[in-house]
């Protein structure tokens, strides 16, 4: 065949299944991608392989008994899930949380953000091809944070630490010195990681300009969190709608300009630095006092409904609770950050190749526990 004949080769699109069991789909996520050769024409996400019916189970459990189930939603950052639920119940029942508990909540939430971004950045780099090395580096740092959580509540993954009206138990004496040590060592590690990767040619070639999400699309699709901030949306719930005691701390909100994968990666690295800043300030100002308000175990909030949201590491996580004055919620709806962030995936991948699909998908950072609930 001559060259001109080859250029006008007739092709047909075909459907490729990125099955639920795949090394880089961050859990059981399935996509049916329509491809023309290597170029992606369209994708159709299929979710529900981890749908455990948590919203229905909420109607069977008591208000306090539901907190362990919220741990299993976004299982990489359980402290934020617990905190969101407790904020919703406290809004519904109008409970005031003591000061020490508020500071402890902020410290735990920011430590959780650090741990989450370790995994997010590590697995994103895993997807772009740095096979497991940065992932294991990130895990090494995450283990230090998990040791702190282990010291406080005895668990490594599903903490069940926040309670309605405060936190579960007070921190032991060795916690604050250990936290101080971590906060001194961690910035150096973040800088080292950044330096290794920031100017790396392969990373820049694979992520700069790839998977651009324009600002207007991000707002229309309801995207939140580092994905939205990477596209230039200046919206962080810790500044726009402060909850707990976040209005007492000074920190910046990092933003990207173009909305490509590289910007999202940089936003996460910067957020890690800002989290360390918040923890330093909270650590110095923490007051003494009780860690839990006087709330009955079988709480019966008055009839009504409430929605409370917080800036979880992945975006806006919210709980909508309806109560009918009994010991179990009438309806509990969880605003799924990751499911809504997936809405933009289709727009972002059209026209790119299969390898870019994996990189773009990794940069959104989803957890199937939250998508499927």
């Amino acid at each position: 065949m001559t060259t001109t004949e080859m250029m006008t080769l007739k092709t047909e699109p075909f459907v490729l299944n990125f099955g639920p069991v795949h090394p880089s789909t961050h859990g059981v996520y399935r996509m049916r991608a329509t491809l023309d050769g290597e170029v992606i024409l369209d994708i159709e996400p299929v979710v529900g392989y981890l749908h455990r019916g948590i919203e229905k189970l909420a109607e069977e459990r008591t208000y306090s008994g539901f907190i362990p189930l919220t741990d299993r939603l976004d299982y990489i950052s359980p402290m934020s899930n617990n905190l969101g639920y407790c904020l919703a119940v406290e809004k519904l029942a109008e409970i005031k949380v003591p000061e020490r508990a508020e500071y402890l909540r902020v410290i735990m939430a920011e430590l959780q953000r650090l741990a989450n971004h370790c995994i997010a950045v590590g697995s994103f780099l895993n997807d772009t091809g740095a096979y497991y090395t940065p992932f294991m580096y990130a895990f090494r740092e995450r283990e230090k944070i998990i040791d702190l959580f282990d010291m406080v509540c005895g668990q490594r993954l599903t903490y069940n630490y926040m309670r309605i009206g405060g936190v579960g138990q007070d921190i032991p004496d060795e916690f604050l010195p250990a936290l101080k040590k971590l906060v001194e060592q961690m910035p150096r590690w973040v800088d080292e990681y950044d330096l290794l990767l920031m100017q790396n040619e392969i990373l820049l070639a694979r992520t700069k300009g790839v998977g651009v999400l324009p600002r207007e699309t991000a707002i229309n699709c309801g995207i939140s969190g580092p994905v939205a901030r990477g596209s230039g949306v200046n919206w962080d719930l810790r500044k726009a709608d402060p909850y707990s005691v976040y209005d007492r701390f000074e920190f910046d909100i990092p933003q990207g300009e173009t909305g490509d994968c590289y910007d999202r990666y940089r936003v996460r690295i910067e957020e890690m630095r800002q989290s360390l800043r918040i923890i330093k300030q909270a650590m110095n100002d923490i007051p003494a006092g009780p860690v839990r308000a006087d709330v009955p175990h079988l709480i019966r909030p008055p009839k009504g409904e409430a929605y409370a949201h917080l800036e979880a590491p992945k975006g806006e996580l919210g709980y909508y609770l309806v109560s009918d004055n009994s010991i179990a919620p009438y309806r509990c709806h969880i605003r799924p950050t990751s499911l809504i962030n997936l809405t933009a995936l289709r727009e972002m991948v059209k026209g790119w190749k299969v390898a870019d699909l994996i990189a773009i998908f990794g940069s959104i950072d989803i957890t199937m526990g939250e998508v499927d609930r």
Partner: protein, 146 residues
């Protein structure tokens, strides 16, 4: 601080433009009739002073005699938010117009409500089950399931 607008503020603006579209107003939310939902939502999105460009969430609650679909809208520019509700009376074939044309984030959330509650969204291009498989009998989140 995001100001949660009360239903009464917006109700007066809406009554002029769309008479007979509001069912009830309260301090927290605004209940709109389902056939004028699209018009009201479009007005809330496009008016400069309101500019609700961000849909926080859509959810549905099963109160035995009716289903209630709840929307929360936020304006990133003015930093205020509002809660809109729409009711479907009766348990057979509840249906509500789809807002996917206005806010793309309604895509998966409306499919989820159809899957778990059985409420149809008219105008949704791809309304099929999201979490459960094709052939699953019933809608689990309804109060009369199991």
């Amino acid at each position: 601080m995001t100001v949660a607008l009360s239903g009464k503020d917006i109700a007066s603006q809406l009554e002029e433009k769309f008479p007979d579209s509001i069912e009830e107003t309260s301090r927290d939310c605004l209940v709109v009739k389902s056939d004028s939902l699209l018009a009201v939502a479009g007005y809330l999105k496009d008016t400069e002073s309101l500019a609700f460009d961000y849909l926080n969430y859509i959810t549905a609650v099963d109160y035995y005699s009716y289903f209630e679909v709840v929307y929360q809208l936020t304006s990133l520019k003015h930093n205020h938010s509002v809660i809109i509700k729409s009711r479907c009376y009766g348990r057979e074939n509840p249906a509500v117009p789809s807002v996917i044309g206005l806010w793309q984030s309604a895509d998966f959330q409306e499919r989820e409500i159809y899957d778990l509650m059985g409420i149809k969204f008219e105008g949704h291009p791809n309304l099929k089950r999201l979490f459960l498989w094709e052939g699953f009998q019933g809608h689990p989140l309804r109060k009369d399931y199991l």
